[in-house]
């Protein structure tokens, strides 16, 4: 089963494909620059305590994303 959730809801090690990015032009431009767009496969690496940044792996790169932005990036998780 596939469930859509945002990056902050994923567990460390979970894999998924980006399903939607609900952000303004600024967020879209930033995610696009690092190759994060609808359909990209990502792996969640970790999240920092107290709503700190979320770290994901995209291709061979790790990206740190602030909590607020991470909540607007939705992923279809493989595990559900």
């Amino acid at each position: 089963m596939r469930i859509v959730k945002d990056l902050t809801q994923m567990k460390a090690g979970e894999i998924g494909r980006v399903a939607d990015i609900q952000g303004g032009w600024g967020l879209l431009r930033k995610t696009d620059a690092l190759g994060i767009k609808v359909g990209t496969e990502i792996v969640k690496v970790s999240s920092q305590l107290m709503r700190g940044p979320i770290i994901i792996r995209v291709g061979n790169t790790q990206v740190a994303i602030g909590f607020g932005m991470a909540r607007r990036i939705f992923v279809a998780s493989r595990e559900g």
Binding site: R29, K30, L34, S47, N60, V63
Partner: protein
């Protein structure tokens, strides 16, 4: 002369390629945004001499930060003049993401060569790229290189003249789709196991393991800096000055007749027939002792440690861990980079604020750094002066500065209009630093310190002597005495240190030595000297980076908070 622009994503090794091409050394590190200014050099390709420009890294041709904006302006200018070639440096381990910029560049009316850097690392990661096929698709030369070892650089130079404006086309809006097609044709990835470095990398950004690792790293590095710094002072530099230089000075002193104007400027005061390098205050005595024997050892130790952390790739991870705290002061985690560089010297620290996206963040980070991050030269002098009273005395100085940093940051974050964006940054993989590159970087930084420090220190000592002999210090001391005495609890002689502090902070701290201050006075003087205004070199850079209006604002915050904190300390301690 035609220009070669090195353009690529942040942290793909542009500066290393630049050094290899031109022989000009520039600082390179393992985090995005090391290059915030552009550097120039020259290379000969065939019988043509070309100017090479190391451009700050950018992910796309739509800028997200000031450094990226600089990159774009250089490109636009070159297209307008029609005299440029772009060498698009691509991280072969991240081909898909990097092609995003490549495809944007290929739409511009400028000849392009693609350099696939980190070729060896891609091989280790099990990534194989069909170079000939990629070259066929993009219709521009593609050259694999490994810049740190120099492999492929000759070939790159050799093929520079083949750079051309491509006839390859794709529809705008289909860029990622197009990239996907290219990747499926040229790249194969074979499965492999995680390496030790990758597991360490993951462990250092998981909170449960990352925070203890960060504390360990910071502790070990402080220890290392102290051991190396103190070791060099105690076993190398002080003996050199005491055993070899002091007798020479005594000789010169007697040749000059043990007194008089020139004697006092060159040698300074003699104490019972001996030179006191801390107090004599001649250009050849204290003027040389301060930069070489007091400060240089710590500067060397600090840059050794910092350069290793930079090249290993640790700093962005520390930034992620510190992100929450940085948000309290209106910044995000990446702002620890200007702060860390500022600990070495505030000048590169001020330049590094360019990696921040908004003016608000640049103002906050530059102001906080200038107020509460003392440079290594100043730290070394404070350690020498206050350290005699033990670690608790030092904690008092640096703990106060940290509280000041936090408090002023929180206040600025509340009062300044606007919001600061969240962190959004690429975390580079850990890389084992290349010894040659590390040594070169350390040498460049030490050289930059000596070049910057020595003329200013000598000038500072010279001015001090002139001011004293013209009785200007006495006059200013009487003028400002009431404020300095009643508010800060310092003797009126401290005004001389505050005056010289505008020029150079290490000399200023050194001037406290002969005043015979109590511990309380030393703490107050050290804190106030750190806070009240940046040194001349930092001021010049800040003025350029912030503009006059914001510099005036920033300067007002510095002076006001320095007096306030000084008075508070005087009251509390």
């Amino acid at each position: 002369m035609r220009k070669v622009l090195l353009i690529g994503n942040p942290n793909v090794g542009k500066s290393v390629v630049f050094s290899r091409l031109t022989g000009v050394n520039v600082i390179s590190s393992n985090y995005p945004g090391t290059t915030v200014e552009y550097s120039k050099g020259y290379v000969r390709a065939g019988n043509e001499r070309l100017e090479v420009i190391d451009v700050p890294g950018t992910y796309s041709l739509e800028p997200n930060s000031k450094a990226e904006q600089i990159a774009l302006e250089i490109l636009k200018d070159s297209i307008a003049r029609q005299n440029g070639i772009v060498v698009n440096i691509v991280d072969a381990t991240n081909l898909e993401r990097n092609l995003n910029l490549t495809l944007q560049l290929l739409k511009k009316e400028i000849p392009v060569v693609v350099d696939l850097n980190f070729w060896d690392e891609a091989k280790h990661l099990g990534i194989s790229i069909d170079v000939a096929e990629l070259e066929k698709i993009l219709n521009v030369p593609v050259v694999p290189t490994c810049a740190v070892s120099g492999e492929g650089i000759k070939e790159l130079v050799h093929r520079l003249p083949e750079a051309k404006v491509t006839n390859y086309h794709y529809r705008e809006g289909e860029r990622w789709h197009e990239i996907g097609k290219i990747i499926s044709r040229v790249q194969k990835v074979s499965h492999r196991h995680h390496t030790f470095l990758e597991r360490l990398a993951d462990a250092s950004i998981r909170p449960l393991t990352g925070i203890p690792i960060a504390m360990g790293v910071i502790y070990i590095n402080f220890k290392l800096i102290r051991i190396i710094g103190e070791g060099l002072i105690g076993y190398v530099f002080e003996p050199i000055f005491e055993e070899l230089w002091a007798p020479v000075m005594i000789n010169i002193s007697s040749i000059l007749g043990s007194g008089g104007f020139i004697h006092d400027i060159l040698i300074g005061r003699i104490f019972q027939g001996k030179i006191d390098f801390g107090q004599s205050f001649g250009i050849l005595t204290t003027g040389l002792f301060v930069p070489f024997a007091s400060v240089l050892p710590y500067v060397f130790a600090f840059y050794l440690v910092l350069s290793f952390l930079e090249d290993f790739g640790y700093l962005p991870r520390l930034g992620v861990l510190a992100d929450k705290m940085m948000h309290q002061v209106g910044l995000h985690g990446l702002a620890i980079i200007p702060m860390m560089l500022g600990l070495g010297c505030n000048v590169p620290g001020a330049l590094a604020t360019r990696i921040m996206e908004t003016e608000r963040e640049r103002f906050i980070s530059a102001t906080l750094m200038a107020i509460a991050v003392p440079c290594m030269a100043q730290i070394a002098m404070i350690v020498g002066l206050v350290g005699k009273y033990g670690a608790r005395a030092l904690m008092l100085v640096f703990g106060t500065l940290f509280l000041v940093w936090l408090t002023i940051g929180i206040i600025m974050n509340r009062l300044l209009k606007g919001e600061s964006p969240e962190i959004f940054v690429e975390i580079p993989p850990y890389r084992i630093p290349y010894f040659g590159a590390l040594a070169k970087k350390l040498w460049m930084r030490v050289k930059a310190f000596l070049k910057e420090a020595i003329p200013f220190v000598l000038l500072g000592v010279f001015i001090v002597n002139i001011l004293y002999s013209l009785k200007i210090i006495d006059f200013l001391g009487k003028l400002t005495g009431p404020v300095i005495k009643s508010l800060l609890g310092l003797p009126s002689g401290a005004v001389a240190a505050l005056l010289v502090g505008f020029l150079r902070k290490d000399v200023a701290v050194g001037m406290l030595v002969p005043l015979g201050l109590s511990l309380k006075q030393l703490v107050i003087a050290s804190v106030v000297l750190a806070m009240y205004f940046p040194c001349a070199a930092t001021f010049a850079v800040l003025l350029r980076e912030l503009g006059l209006r914001d510099m005036v604002k920033s300067g007002a915050i510095m002076i006001f908070s320095a007096i306030l904190v000084g008075a508070l300390l005087n009251f509390v301690l």
